[in-house]
């Protein structure tokens, strides 16, 4: 108990990692459960953020270089691209099927 | 020999690629632009080939010496150092021609040109067709000019794919079957050849051009020099078990293309299903690659094995000649008949090659060229009749000589050239092949002369069934051969006639190289001095 409080008082690598872990799980949960494609997208964003936190945390505490951050930048870039494309697809699907519920989209042709 | 700093051979090889790109950029509705582009490109290629023909130094032999090669282009292409357990990969972009390849280059250019004319009115996906045709053209030309085994293999495979599509998409009713069959057969051949190549690669080393340390190489000429074989490597020494094995693998690889007897069944299907122009290319050029490869690679790299198996080659040649002729005789389908006649005629090439002497090999190379032109004519002729009557059944016709006199005239030339009538080129090459082979394999050759009679028999029988007799009123309305078809046929006919009367035009190109090759093989590949001019 004592050392747990002690641990709480000194936020370090583990803390960040655990945050990211929880964030990750939340994202996954969104992806798993929501029917709305856009929600799924948001979940993915969460997951990516969690990953980024890990990158930066490790580069900060372990390697002590900036590589992790650079990677994170790339992740962000890709996230942006991915979001754009995904949303475009969602819109397109919506136009064709008039729904965005992933569980109703079991066919790629119209 | 350079134009825009690019060598003639690169031009002649990659012109079709340029044409292909041009065609790709054209709108597919504009058929005229497409066909004229293709025609212009192939014509330029023909001009380049003529340029090579006229500037070719007949005194140089080539075969195994780079000094003897002409129009050489040699630059380092792939050069990767320190590959694990592989050392250094060093591949050269190495082009060059000698007396063996120049006739084939001419033939390829000529046949491609004719093929474009012949495919003037393809309905289905015209643009794609022309693209494939031009790509195929590059592949074929590359095979004949490349002197680096890696490059050779690349071109060999490049040629395979468009052919597959050309048969499989633009072919006849059973096109898928034929295409797959052709593809699998050829692939099997390629695999065996690849094995041989790898075996050679790991046996031959040359000093690195830059550093001088020993490196593996794909250079064909280096592979021909026994001194370059690493002692103790797989293919070192002479007449070893592994050398024979490698030669056989190589031989089968090429034999499938020729095609030699047990591996020939892809040919009738492919020829019958393929559209006319493609049959022309198949018979005119592709079949030659097998024999060319054997002469360019099999013989000089494995002279011991080549000598050891020459009798077997002669026997196979005999089978090809007689068996092919008999099969042709039994056919009801015009195109199938021509296809089997190709089997028979390529047998003559093999016979000449098995002779291991000047007349025979000269006859073989010359027969390769002549068979190219003559069979091209035959297939064009079948195409003409098929376009009009939409059937190839030999018994469905009769009396066409009256309805289509011009057509009959040119067809007669082709048929008699095919059955080896003196005064037409086919005879000379056949006669030389036999003359040569007789000195080496006496009785097999005498037996093979039977083929001459059989060929005459089935050719004349066909001629009689289709063209002579009472005109079949069903085809009374057939229009005679038109200008475009004549444009495709007449040049070939003239060449056939000219070479029949004065063959030296072509033979002078080959003799030096062939003599050198014969000497080289006879000496078992021991370093042979260039023969005096």
């Amino acid at each position: 108990m004592q050392d747990f409080i002690h641990w709480l008082q000194a936020p370090g690598l583990n803390h960040f990692l655990i945050i990211s872990g929880i964030l990750f799980s939340l994202g996954v949960f969104a992806i798993l459960t929501r029917r709305n494609a856009i929600m799924v997208l948001m979940g993915i964003e969460l997951v990516l953020n969690a990953a980024n936190i890990n990158f930066i945390a490790f580069s900060r505490y372990i390697t002590n270089t900036l590589d992790g951050q650079v990677i994170a930048i790339f992740v962000i870039i890709l996230a942006a691209a991915e979001a754009a494309i995904a949303l475009a697809i969602v819109l397109n699907i919506f136009q064709n099927f008039n729904t965005v519920n992933v569980d109703e989209l079991n066919q790629l042709r119209d | 020999m350079n134009f825009l700093g690019i060598g003639t051979l690169s031009w002649i090889t990659f012109l079709p690629i340029l044409g292909m790109i041009a065609v790709l950029l054209l709108p597919k509705e504009n058929r005229n632009a497409i066909r004229w582009t293709a025609l212009a490109i192939t014509f330029l290629q023909l001009v380049a080939a003529a340029f090579i023909f006229f500037n070719f130094n007949r005194g140089l032999a080539g075969i195994n010496t780079v000094e003897g090669m002409q129009f050489v282009e040699k630059v380092s292409w792939i050069n990767i150092k320190g590959v694990p357990w592989f050392g250094k990969i060093y591949v050269e972009y190495f082009l060059g021609v000698d007396g063996l390849s120049v006739p084939m280059v001419l033939l390829t250019a000529l046949i491609s040109f004719v093929a474009v004319i012949a495919s003037w009115n393809i309905e289905k996906a015209f643009k794609g067709y022309m693209v494939m045709l031009l790509l195929l053209d590059t592949g074929m030309m590359g095979v004949f000019v490349s002197l680096d085994f890696f490059l050779f293999y690349v071109f060999w495979e490049v040629m395979l794919l468009p052919m597959y599509f050309l048969i499989g998409i633009w072919g006849g009713p059973r096109r898928e079957y034929a295409a797959i069959k052709f593809f699998l057969y050829t692939l099997l051949g390629s695999v065996l050849m690849l094995l041989a190549i790898i075996a050679l690669y790991f046996s031959v080393t040359i000093p690195d051009p830059t550093t001088g340390e020993k490196i593996y190489t794909f250079n064909m000429l280096a592979m021909m020099n026994p001194a370059n074989f690493e002692p103790g490597s797989l293919l070192a020494g002479t007449s070893t078990y592994w050398r024979y094995l490698a030669y056989i693998a190589l031989f089968i690889g090429f034999a499938i293309k020729v095609p030699v007897f047990p591996f020939h069944t892809w040919l009738p299907d492919a020829h019958v299903e393929a559209p006319t122009a493609i049959s022309v290319i198949l018979a005119g050029v592709l079949l030659k690659m097998g024999t060319y490869g054997l002469l360019r690679i099999g013989y000089p790299m494995f002279p011991d094995a080549a000598n050891h198996y020459s009798w077997a080659l002669a026997v196979l040649a005999f089978i090809n000649i007689v068996y092919g002729a008999l099969c042709a005789m039994a056919q009801k389908d015009f195109k199938k008949l021509i296809a089997y006649s190709s089997v028979s005629h390529m047998g003559v090439v093999l016979l000449g090659m098995s002779a291991m002497n000047t007349q025979g090999m000269l006859g073989a190379v010359f027969q390769m060229f002549n068979h190219g032109t003559i069979t091209a004519m035959l297939f064009l002729i079948v195409g003409v009749i098929y376009d009009r009557a939409h059937t190839r059944d030999l018994d469905a016709f009769g009396g066409l000589a009256i309805t289509m006199p011009k057509y009959t005239g040119i067809m007669t030339v082709a048929f008699f050239a095919a059955l080896g009538l003196p005064g037409l080129s086919g005879f000379i090459s056949e006669a030389f092949s036999f003359l040569g082979a007789f000195q080496t394999h006496r009785y097999i050759t005498i037996a093979s002369t039977l083929g001459i009679v059989l060929t005459a028999a089935y050719m004349l029988w066909t001629l009689q069934r289709v063209f002579l007799g009472q005109p079949n009123e069903k085809w009374a309305g057939l229009p005679d051969i038109n200008g475009r078809e004549l444009a495709a046929l007449v040049p070939l006919a003239i060449i056939t006639l000219w070479l029949g009367v004065y063959p030296s035009t072509m033979l002078d190109i080959m003799t030096t190289s062939v003599n050198h090759l014969v000497e080289f093989v006879k000496q078992g590949g021991a370093a042979v001095a260039m023969l005096p001019k």
């Binding site: 798993l32 992933v102 | 047990p262 000269l362 005879f427 036999f434 005459a456 003799t511 014969v518």
Partner: protein, 753 residues
Amino acid sequence: MSPETIIQLSVVILLLPLLGFTLLIFFNKRLPRQGDWLETGILFLALALSLVVFAVKMVSYRHETFQATFTWVNFGNVPGFGPMKLELGIMVDNLVAIMLVVVNVVSALVHLFSIGYMHGDVRYGRYFAYLGIFTFSMLGIVITNNFWMMYVFWELVGLSSYLLIGHWFEKKSASDAAKKAFVVNRVGDIGMFTGIMILFATFHTFTFSTIFESMQSGNIPLGSEAWLTAAGILIFCGAIGKSAQFPLHVWLPDAMEGPTPVSALIHAATMVAAGVYLIARAFPMMTADALMFIAYIGAITAFISATIAIAQNDIKKVLAYSTVSQLGYMVMGLGVGAYTAGFFHLVTHAMFKAGLFLGSGSVIHAMHHALHHAGDHHTDPQDIRNMGGLRSKMPITFWTFLIYTLAISGIPFTSGFLSKDEILAGTLAFGSLTGHKIIPIIGFFVAGLTAFYMFRLVIVVFFGEHNDHHRIEAVRESPKTMTIPLMVFAALSFFAFYSPNPFGAASGWFFDAIHRPESVVPLAVAAVGIETFEEALHHSHSLAMILSLTVAGLGILIAFTTYYWKKISADAVADKLKPLHTFFLNKWYFDEFYEWMFVGGTKGLARAYAWFDNRIIDGIVNGVGSWTKAITLGTRQNWEEGSIASIFYLGITGVISLYVGWIAGAAMMPFGASLGTMVGYGMLGLAVAGLTFFLFYVGVGGFDNSIVDGLVNATAYLAGFLGLLTRRVQTGKVQTYLAFVILGVMVFFLWFR
């Protein structure tokens, strides 16, 4: 005139007809009269030139031989031989000079005749073009100085013969005959080509003189006299084909399907004589055995065809078989060593046989028009039984025809008498020297037969009265273009052109110009020398003359008693010798035999091979394909249930699996195992076998589907059961699979930490 000029003139003579052909084949439609005047004119020009060459050669250069060669192919520096060239060229000796004249005379006159005979034919112009190329090739054969060009032109005359026989190709019989002629000739030609190969393999040249010189210096083909003889006989095979010698004589009678002038030119006078010319050319390299072979072939041919000729009723068929028999004579003459006589007979026979054919052509022409005029289209205008009494109708034809007949029967004062007599004398000499008496016997017997059937022809066609008059009342004498050639040939059938002495040619210019060449083969295998032969010839000469006159007279007598005075009924005789007669009438059943033996055999073989190719070889190829598929897909997807292939496949695989099972079970069984163990291992083996067979049955792919995939699914079900207690596992939902992924990752985490 200088030798150069002679050579140049000969080249011009050679090329003129080719020029005519080239012009006519392309422009015959555009030229007036389809250009017959052009071709004919060219031929007469060539004739004039060849006469000049002949005269000059005979007068000034009787004993020289002129050659002119050029390098045709340069083989370069051939390994193990050194520089090698193929020299081709032409030569002019007496043989050539004479042949040039003969060929051009016959050809020119036939051209002239054709203008009348072929008048209004569908392919009139093309016909003359073909005549042109034939003349060119024939002259080529004559004028060449090497075997190569000989073979080339040899085939080319074959081609022109093919084209001309098939001139009326609408008729099936015509195109058949053309094809037959070409193919049968090819059979002979490959023999000839093989001979040439043998010579080339040793001498590396084709030129006659070079080969013969090298032979004389003791260098024989492939170093063995057997090969030398073989070379001789094989070269002679070419002659067997072209000169329609037994056993390849079958094509010549069918060749009569061509227009009659063509028969006269090609199949009587010139082309068929080319074989004889070839023997004459190759004579020096013939060994005794080869010559014996040649002599016997000639004799057999002469006999067989003479017997056939007796029974024929088609006027052209009779002449055709008489031609074959006369060619047999020439070949026999050369074979026995009567070189000059044989060649002499070639020349004289060319003249009167061409005349005979043209005469028959004139008759057929007249008959055809008469029948046409009478509106009769059923009667065959060539059947002699429909003729008779034409003597008064067409006198010129009759008289000329009679002269030819006398000549061919060997009656004195005709050219035929001179040549035939010499040949028979030669055979007698040969018989006395070698003891082969059968040859002279055949010779004289055939001479009698010849006289008989030729006079039978004359009597039946021209004498007597015709059974119904109106049929032939319209028969008229043929036009001048046709009768003039007849008269010229008739004139040329008199002895005066060849020798001042009507009873011996030896004193004539011909025998002075043509001498039997010295043999170049080793003495051991050479035929009897010239001197010995001349000696024997001298002895047998008078005997030969008497005998030949007797048999000829006998033949003529029988002919008259049978067909003119009708003392003997031909039909009665025919009935009495029924089998023999039908045998002759059906040409000894050669055609039937060949049709059955070779044509049928080849076609059958072809079908068999095609079947083999289609079913066996291709079957193996496709079989490999479908078996590969079977092993991957299993039988069910590959073949329909219970198809032969599938049963076969299952059988094989069953055996294999049993074997595998045996290996697994029995082979692994330890020695001396207890019964229980054995049973256990047996069970194991059976299980393995069953598994293997199941594997084969469903195929690897099937195995993949049913077993491997099954396992995967099982895990999935398991995971689904563990992870989420729902049955919705195989829903195609991304989330579900993502869930599995996550589970998997977790498992890994926990595993590897």
